[in-house]
Symmetry: C2
Subunit: 291 residues, 2 copies
């Protein structure tokens, strides 16, 4: 297992972690600048941030700072109530693949979606099986395109508390079943993003990480689960402040040969109240001691 | 599948549903009286409510109204930081079995516990495997006692968002693995409580209900998952107000021969703001139309 105690060369910052400081949306190029200044070598930006900064400008800034993308957030949201909606989702995902290529990301992270309309507060139906079928079909179709572009797709199982509105893929086992069905040859074109916040509770976590193996372990995201958790979305903890045994899971990942970045992704009303620099410093410190 | 549309003979009320009306704790005997008045034939009370009302008085009132207990809430919380704590948990669980017997409950529901101290905000450790082992051992030990008393134990898998503080058994599959290990002969002494709020998201739900079969399906709890959900504990929805396809799951249960009560268990800051009678009326109405 890699020694993280003396440097932060394997730290990546998901840019959502420092995007809303004190209620003010931080420009992506400033965030990239801050990360580079702290000696951080990788980031994972969000599509809306990239759109606001401009794709070309973002790509230039990433290259100028010698940054890498541990992943690109995010494709997915494959479900819809009709064929037109499914096609629109597919087209949007093709663009996400193109952007990920332009930014030379290691993978495109997929948050797959679930019941149409649920995220807006009113689900169009309750048929989770249908949503899961649409997701399966959507990933299959996108895989053809992404494979041709050389962009790996990383299915991110989301915590079951997001099963209605954000993702109907909720366990690593379920994600790997999809991988096995769509990419039985383990080509590297399809795999998973293991986000500890979503999967830490799973009694089958170790077994499924072993099942995934190096070719399917495309990304590793860390933060912590707080007790109590006061908000379903924006109360993630800094590593070390909660109950997740992150080093144990990183050990399982690395036993399979995972040698990529550990991406810190913290949505937190608490941390967003602090300065971006303070939060980055905490990420660096906790990466050394708690990851 | 049973027809629920014209009566509510299979409705049970978990007494937490109407215990905190407008911030005032409602006496259990009053709740039982209200249920009986509405023609409700079964309830599931909580141990602290029974303790406050007195066990003998509760048993008398239950009998006087011709009520049945679809389950008794609850045993469990098996984990501890030392042997003394484990023994104290065992003793407390023996008393819960005795009380369930006195009340002639159909089963004792087990919320198994997880990381010691987490529910109080400070977990003593992060070793989920250890907690799971303690739970396994604790259920095994209690089973000997409960079997002798003739009281079935129903393991309730809790939603993964409670994995740190309330229960480290988080899927039906995991609960059934415990059942298979401790009661391979399927004696009826050990089974599961299927609470839709906790398991609705599970891609293996149907398969695991089939695996459980009639002898292991000891209880069925219903409410709904709201989008958005604003509180991890007390924002459960009334059946029909959320995204859970309850009739589909009831069909799966009944295909296995389940013929027990459908217990409504709603922790809701919203419903607790209304009168108990209004909430009971809603339960009856939705039981006919949405369960």
């Amino acid at each position: 297992m890699r020694d993280f105690s003396s440097d932060h060369r394997w730290l990546s910052i998901n840019t959502a972690t420092i995007r809303k400081q004190r209620g003010v949306e931080q420009p992506l190029l400033d965030i990239l600048e801050s990360c580079a200044r702290e000696g951080i070598r990788a980031v994972s930006p969000w599509r809306d941030q990239v759109a606001a900064a401009g794709l070309a400008a973002t790509a230039r800034t990433v290259r100028a700072h010698g940054l890498e993308l541990s992943g690109y957030c995010r494709g997915g949201m494959f479900t819809a109530t009709d064929g037109g909606g499914l096609e629109a989702a597919h087209e949007d995902n093709r663009r996400a693949v193109d952007e990920a290529c332009e930014l030379a990301s290691r993978c495109l992270v997929l948050v797959v979606g679930s019941l149409p309309g649920a995220l807006q507060g009113k689900a169009a139906h309750k048929n989770l099986s249908l949503a899961r079928q649409q997701v399966f079909d959507g990933i299959g179709k996108l895989l053809d395109y992404a494979r041709a572009q050389g962009m790996p797709l990383a299915i991110e199982p989301l915590h079951p508390m997001y099963a209605a509105d954000r993702a109907c893929v909720n366990t690593l086992e379920q994600a790997l079943d999809i991988c096995d069905a769509l990419d039985p040859e383990r080509s590297g074109a399809l795999g998973v993003a293991v986000d500890m916040y979503h999967v830490w509770w799973d009694p089958k976590l170790k077994a499924q990480i072993e099942r995934a193996g190096k070719t399917r372990l495309l990304a590793f995201h860390v933060c912590d689960w707080l007790t109590p958790t006061n908000d379903l979305l924006n109360d993630r903890g800094m590593m070390g402040d909660g109950v997740i045994d992150i080093p144990q899971a990183r050990g399982w990942m690395e036993s399979q040969g995972f040698d990529g970045f550990c991406e810190v992704e913290i949505f937190s009303n608490t941390w967003w109240q602090r300065s971006g620099d303070e939060t980055l410093q905490a990420c660096i410190e906790r990466h050394r001691t708690c990851v």
